[in-house]
Amino acid sequence: MRKYYDDVTKIAGSVLTVKAHGAGYDELAVIRSDHGESLAQVIRLEGNQVALQVFAGTQGLSNRDKVRLLGKPMQVAYTDDLLGRIFDGSGRPRDARGQVEGQMIDIGRPAVNPVRRRMPDKMVETGIPMIDIFNSLVESQKLPIFSIAGEPYNELLARIGLQADADVIILGGMGLRHDDYLKFRQTFEEGGVLGRTIMFIHTAADPTVECLLVPDLCLAVGEHFALDGKKVLVLLTDMTAFSDALKEIAIIMEQIPSNRGYPGDLYTQLARRYEKAVDFDEAGSMTVLACVTMPGDDVTHPVPDNTGYITEGQFYLRNGRIEPFGSLSRLKQQVNGKSRDDHRSIMDACIQLYALCRESREKRDMGFEMSPWDNKLLHYGKLFEDRIMDLSVNIPLFEALDRCWEILAECFDPEETGIRRSIIDKYWPKASSSPAEEMEMASA
């Protein structure tokens, strides 16, 4: 027997309140109106008043519409048939193919017991030297890309998705521009990974709050693939849109905001999602990369700020490049000690010299005179930016390390790099011998 409730007491923002019995907190309801059926979630119970957050928004709903309680939380089908499919923010097919049948799983499940987590120790090679050498990405890491609007963050995300050798790629789009969605699809198609990709896409044209389910859908599916031993990569863009949707709901529910209108539980809401990144003891893993656009390029804005406190580092995307300063992979030391023995030395030396180069540039810009040393640094900075930092560079880690050695040898004498002697002896390029070595050879 299906029971309907139609005593709607309030419609405001994207929340509809109805008098009903037997509603379970956090469970789903369906509202039938002239415009069809829309999905809603119980966000507050008070006596017989049930507040429902309507994912498609409340436009066009009336106080006589019928509400049916589903008696279960949001679920999603879990099956291999998901691979290659595209869904919307509520999990409905977006690709003109049929519903997916499979085991129904709840979204937003409890946290993983920390004692069943492994210490992450496998590097994810991306072909991007600024990541692979300087801030290595590690399997099961949660890492955001901090970016201002207009930077190619989605391209970067797509590229990592393509390059990382994952069994399953899950893309969650929130407020995604339709063009960007098409571009993702095209990139994955051309890269031949569409067959192992699942997309949950909420576009900018969809109702704002409908994006709230996207991370949970992606992560619930990803978690199950990981439990089945798969190496999963989840890409979420843009988490600022997700946070803004949370803000909208909080304001409608008259919660007192803590910071610039965002609710006090923003940290918790974000952490519960990012913390799903996991390397299971005796099963697979899930890596989470997210885009966070920074309003006004302000890293102290509540969204990037709370994110930084949750994730294991961050990549700053600025002027089309990954900034070496400020960017940080907190797990890099788990992997960069065992890739090649010059990895850490190159990482330290190149960044220190690049920092010095920036100082020299500042001095130059202030009109101070350039010493020969300053000029070496300026030359180095240029080469480093063109051959390593440029995002179009796409080479494996070892080749990137070799390239760094070439740049160093082109600009400096070995001892000027501050790299340990034993490493220099092993890796300093022999062909383009440095000025100092030439003199040694001449005198020999």
């Binding site: 907190y25 008070e46 210490m119 803590s258 910071n259 006090g264 940290y267 913390e275």
Partner: protein, 575 residues
């Protein structure tokens, strides 16, 4: 059943009670599938009780049953706590994993202490003796410690030992004594007892002024901003500045008996690191693994928020319990901001009048009473126990002008402020030497500390000026001063946490190095020009940094020391 749910809002449930309800007592919300969700009464309004639920409230209905219990949320105390990994409500996580698998499913509560483990009990008190709360009845060996089995802390007045167990093996559930009092009451005592986590546990003769330096082996702390046993300190800092790493180092090297790590609302991965590494690391003081002196309480950010609030209190209670045995305990809480945020979430749902940044008005008093649980106490048997509390603070936007940082600064004895500028420059540990302070006396003479702090401040001023007028506009004397400040910063304050030797410096060595650095700074260099000053200071900096990496007393150590002494003797002039 003695109540029913009338409203659900996040982790706040309002229940209609039919019987007596005790503020801060525990209760259970019963889901229709029978799962019981642990809750705490946080407000009573007539027959309405507001409950904070320590689990996700998904699936609760209006009308669902609520069980009320008279007792308050309590920690279980007894032998077997050391080495455990608990969640915020003292559920042992490894056992929970054995029972329910990968996930922390709601509604599973396990005994905090293994009931099957037996302990070698030796009675200390005798039949017929008169005792009071907290008096030692007997002892059991627990790893490297002699764990005292104490009379229940909630005893009132004097009691007589009617019966006490003979030496032998017992579990924590076995009766080891029977007590009676004049009123004719009788009480059976086991090795385990409970104590409400929100009530400070302190059964002692008096509180003492904490003065005994607590050596952390982190040079910038021990030398400039010391902490003491029984004191309090805080580490505020923006994300990624190194709060957690600093606490991890401290948890390894701190010169205390027991360390309690409270991972409160932070990353699970960081707990896993400690979890996996500590059993492999030996404690140089005892030769046993670090895990044997550690308890981990972890309520990470994805775990239910209300339990996060409870976790710091659980940690404090366990810490106080070991202090009652005359031990030195260190409680490290990372991060107290997450605990404050949990309070804020609940306060918002209770629709209390908010203060700054929506934190409740009682935020400051809660912070104060938490840190107040630290302290050095003289116990009834004359021994001294201490509890030191160090908490990290994660201020929004890295700005210290916010309620949690400010509320904490009012009550702690030392402030280790991390700066973004220092962490960006990889000057670890990134404690800002200009802003930080400590009210305690440490292992270095106060005068010497004052001198070096003045040098650092002056060096900073000169450096600021130089960015405007350039090196050209700076005198050789000023330039030298700035170089000396930089030298001290490099050689004393910065420390490579990941180096075996440099990562941990003993108190004696710190004192020796400090004096040596002062000798260098005191040299009357009389440089002719800045280039000479720079080169000379770079040379000595390099020598000392290498010296810091050399194991005390090693050949290399002696050789470098010889070179440093020669440098001082030659007043920095190359021979």
């Amino acid at each position: 059943m003695n109540g029913n749910i009338v409203a659900v809002h996040g982790n706040l449930v309002v229940a209609q009670a039919r019987e007596r309800v005790v503020q801060n007592s525990i209760s259970y919300c019963v889901r229709t599938d029978g799962t019981r969700l642990l809750s705490e009464v946080v407000r009573v309004r007539g027959q309405l009780a507001d409950l904070q639920v320590f689990e996700e409230t998904r699936g609760l209905h209006v009308g669902d049953a609520v069980e009320f219990h008279p007792e308050m949320l309590s920690a279980t105390l007894g032998p077997g706590l050391l080495g455990q990994v608990y969640d915020g409500l003292q559920n042992p996580l490894p056992k929970l994993a054995d029972k329910v698998g990968y996930f922390l499913e709601s509604g599973h509560y396990l005994d905090a202490l293994p009931e099957e483990t037996t302990w070698e009990f030796t009675p200390v008190a005798e039949t017929g003796a008169t005792i009071q709360a907290g008096h030692t009845l007997g002892t059991v060996p627990e790893g490297i410690f002699t764990h005292q089995i104490m009379a229940p802390f909630n005893l009132r007045g004097e009691w007589k030992i009617e019966k006490i167990a003979t030496a032998g093996t017992y579990t924590v559930r076995d009766e080891i004594a029977v007590l009676t009092n004049d009123a004719g009451q009788s009480r059976s005592v086991t090795m385990q007892q409970t104590w409400p986590i929100k009530m400070p546990l302190n059964v002692s003769r008096r509180r003492l002024m904490p003065t005994d330096p607590l050596v952390t082996k982190v040079r910038i702390i021990d030398s400039l901003f010391p902490i003491v046993r029984g004191g309090t300190y805080c580490i505020p800092g923006p994300f990624g500045a190194g709060k957690t790493v600093l606490q991890q180092i401290t948890s390894r090297h701190a010169d205390v008996d027991i360390v309690i790590v409270a991972a409160c609302g932070e990353r699970a991965g960081e707990v896993v690191e400690t979890l996996r590494e500590f059993p492999e690391l030996t404690d140089p003081r005892t030769g046993r693994t670090l895990m044997e002196r550690t308890i981990i309480i972890c309520n990470t950010s994805a775990m239910p928020v209300a339990a996060r609030e409870a976790s710091v209190y659980t940690a404090a209670t366990l810490a106080e319990y070991y202090r009652q045995m005359g031990l030195n305990v260190l409680l490290l809480a990372d991060s107290t901001s997450r605990w404050a945020q949990a309070m804020r979430e609940l306060s918002g749902r209770l629709e209390e009048i908010p203060g700054e940044e929506a934190f409740p008005a009682y935020l400051e008093s809660r912070i104060a009473s938490f840190y107040e649980r630290a302290g050095a106490v003289e116990l009834y048997d004359g021994t001294i126990g201490t509890l030191t509390i160090g908490g990290t603070v994660s201020p929004a936007g890295g700005n210290f002008e916010e309620p949690v940082t400010q509320g904490t600064l009012k009550v702690v004895g030392a402030f280790h402020g991390l700066s973004r500028a220092r962490s960006d420059a990889r000057r670890y540990p990134a404690i800002d030497p200009l802003d930080s302070w400590s009210k305690y006396a440490g292992i270095i003479d106060r005068d010497k500390v004052a001198r070096t702090r003045a040098l650092l401040a002056r060096g900073n001023d000169i450096h600021q000026m130089m960015t405007v007028v350039g090196e050209e506009g700076t005198s050789v004397e000023d330039f030298t001063l700035a170089q000396c400040a930089e030298f001290f910063d490099n050689c004393m304050l910065q420390q490579n946490a990941f180096d075996e030797v440099d990562g941990a410096t003993s108190a004696e060595r710190q004192q020796f190095v400090f004096d040596k650095l002062l000798e260098v700074i005191d040299i009357d260099f009389a440089f002719e020009n800045k280039e000479q000053a720079r080169q000379t200071i770079v040379r000595i900096t390099d020598l000392v940094r290498n010296w810091n990496y050399a194991a005390t007393g090693s050949e290399e150590y002696e050789a470098l020391l010889g070179q440093i002494d020669a440098f001082i003797a030659a007043k920095g002039r190359e021979s």
